[in-house]
């Protein structure tokens, strides 16, 4: 059963175009020129119930515009959208009872008050049955482990704690779909891990459909079974996330920190990007070599103090994909 259906979705903006020069400045006042920007250019996809989907793309790719249209904040220029049987543009408030959203930059929680106050308010805004609400809240509190945080003013919470509370807030009304925009931004590794666990739990146990936007490759890799990549308003990839990794991540960067100074690092198959006295960064083509081999080599020849393994940045992967698409 499809919870989201998008067909031939288009969104165009008219931006006032001002040309330089005094004469043009006057003309601009009298007869402004408009430039047409295609933010979303013929998008089609559908999402079935219980999917955990990553919706990604570089900045300006049309992601936020699409999400805004799905939630009814923005009207499409043309095309069809159906979310849970509603037309978001026409039935925004009705749809709002069934969806939740977390925008990392725009908090839902009231800053000076404890989270519980916002939860209680939301329960009233969504007109929830009080008993149902209390039961569900207890469940959320346990799942997110925010019991101790409930009565602390939000401004006193750490970013990770606040994020957990924000996501919990978006679930008070048991939405069928939630839109998560950059849920782990700015969080430390432990906090990120925690949030990911919660999201996974929601999706697996509660069958909540999750529409995730993130620049964090770790989020995408660990959570999303399916990934859609947009760029220039078009879908350039729609498929299982592991295909993305398998086909498009071609290299890894390994950073090693040693006890003793590094003289030579003669590992065949790795390109040295940076080299210091006690550290070295190696770019590894993983289609030709395994990290395994590199690490064995390193351990055999040096006293390793620290190891870091990096994926090439997602933007790079996407850019690569786009370039590959063009060919």
């Amino acid at each position: 059963m499809n919870v989201i259906e998008v067909k031939n979705l288009k969104k165009e903006f008219q931006i006032k175009q001002k040309r330089a020069g005094l004469k043009n400045g006057l003309a601009f006042l009298l007869r402004p020129e408009y430039k047409n920007i295609k933010a979303v250019d013929d998008l089609s996809f559908s999402v079935s119930r219980g999917e955990l989907l990553a919706f990604i793309g570089p900045n300006g790719a049309g992601k936020s515009t699409t999400i805004k249209m799905l939630t009814g904040i923005l009207f499409p220029s043309s095309g069809h959208i159906n979310v849970l049987g509603f037309d978001p543009a026409k039935e925004r408030q009705k749809l709002a009872y069934n969806i939740g959203s977390v925008f990392g930059q725009k908090p839902q929680l009231w800053y000076h008050l404890p989270a519980i106050d916002t939860y209680n308010l939301l329960a009233r805004i969504y007109e929830l049955d009080q008993r149902e609400y209390k039961k569900h809240l207890a469940f959320l509190v346990e799942a997110f482990e925010i019991g101790d945080l409930l009565n602390t003013p939000v401004r006193k919470l750490s970013l990770g704690q606040r994020m957990r509370c924000e996501i919990a807030a978006s679930l008070i009304h048991k939405p069928k779909i939630i839109f998560l925009d950059e849920p782990t931004i700015g969080l430390d590794v432990v906090a990120k891990q925690h949030i990911r666990e919660v999201i996974k739990y929601l999706n697996e146990k509660e069958k909540v459909t999750i529409f995730l936007t993130s620049h964090d490759a770790g989020d995408i890799e660990s959570l999303a079974r399916r990934t859609i990549i947009v760029n220039f308003g078009k879908i350039i990839f729609d498929g299982p996330t592991e295909n993305l990794k398998k086909n498009y991540i071609k290299s890894k960067i390994v950073e090693l920190v040693t006890e003793d100074p590094i003289e030579d690092f003669n590992f065949q198959g790795g390109k040295i990007i940076e080299k210091g006295k006690f550290d070295i960064k190696v770019e590894l083509d993983i289609s030709k070599n395994s990290i395994d081999k590199l690490l064995s080599f390193a351990v055999e020849n040096f006293n390793i103090k620290d190891i870091n393994i990096f994926d090439p940045p997602l933007e790079e992967i996407i850019a690569d994909i786009y370039r590959a698409q063009k060919l």
Binding site: K11, F13, A39, G72, I73, F75, Q93, Y97, K106, P153
Partner: protein, 267 residues
Amino acid sequence: MQKDTSLGTYLSLTWEMVKMNVLSAMEYRVSFAMQVIGMIVNDIGLVALWFIFFEKFPEIRGWTFQDTAVLFAITTVQFSIVMILANGSFRMARMIANGEIDNLLSLPKNVLWQISLSKTEVSAFGDLLFGLVIYFFSGNLSFESFGLFILLSVITAVIFFNFIVITQSIAFFTGNFGEAAVQLFHALLGFTLYPQTAFFGVPKVITLTILPAFFIATLPVEIFRNFNIFSLGLMIAFAIITFFIAIFIFKKGLERYESGNLINIKI
């Protein structure tokens, strides 16, 4: 299927929102107290000024200190009603420019209502208290008078609110209208606080048509001094008409916003 939200729900929700706003402000206990007290002092200053004035000039064209007291009472009570229940409306233009209303659009409640209640000016409680006290200084102590006073305050509060919504909604069409809207607001306020009979001549026409100062201050005090059912009816009609105009302009503006053709839209 969800049924439409009832008025009763909106009323109880309004109460909740105001409570949250006040609680939020009370986090800063001292600041909260100082604001309320500060506003009372502010109002006392205004009354003191005019008291001194009327000591020297007991009557201006039939207008006495008592009349100024009524004027102040109606104005401050009306002002405090708007500041308590709809303070957020003053920030509307800025909220639109910053895309802050997206959050509100994702909640299943009326957007204008949400914008209005997004903030409560706590010092307005000082105003409210002061308005009620100064009313009693005007010497009108009958139940009827008090009832009329409350009625007039509520009607003028609605007119005031409508005016704010109309001027702020222009931001939907032109981008941030902030500075000019603030100027307009202060001009409006300034007009309401001077002995009203002092105004005459052509500029009064401007006052009548462009700024509803006439309806917010002059007319209600006139009605209070010399009750006239037709004038009262006129005020109520004006409140209702401007209300529908305000809602209409806001709705159109919101549609425009959702079409995404604001000049400073962020893609």
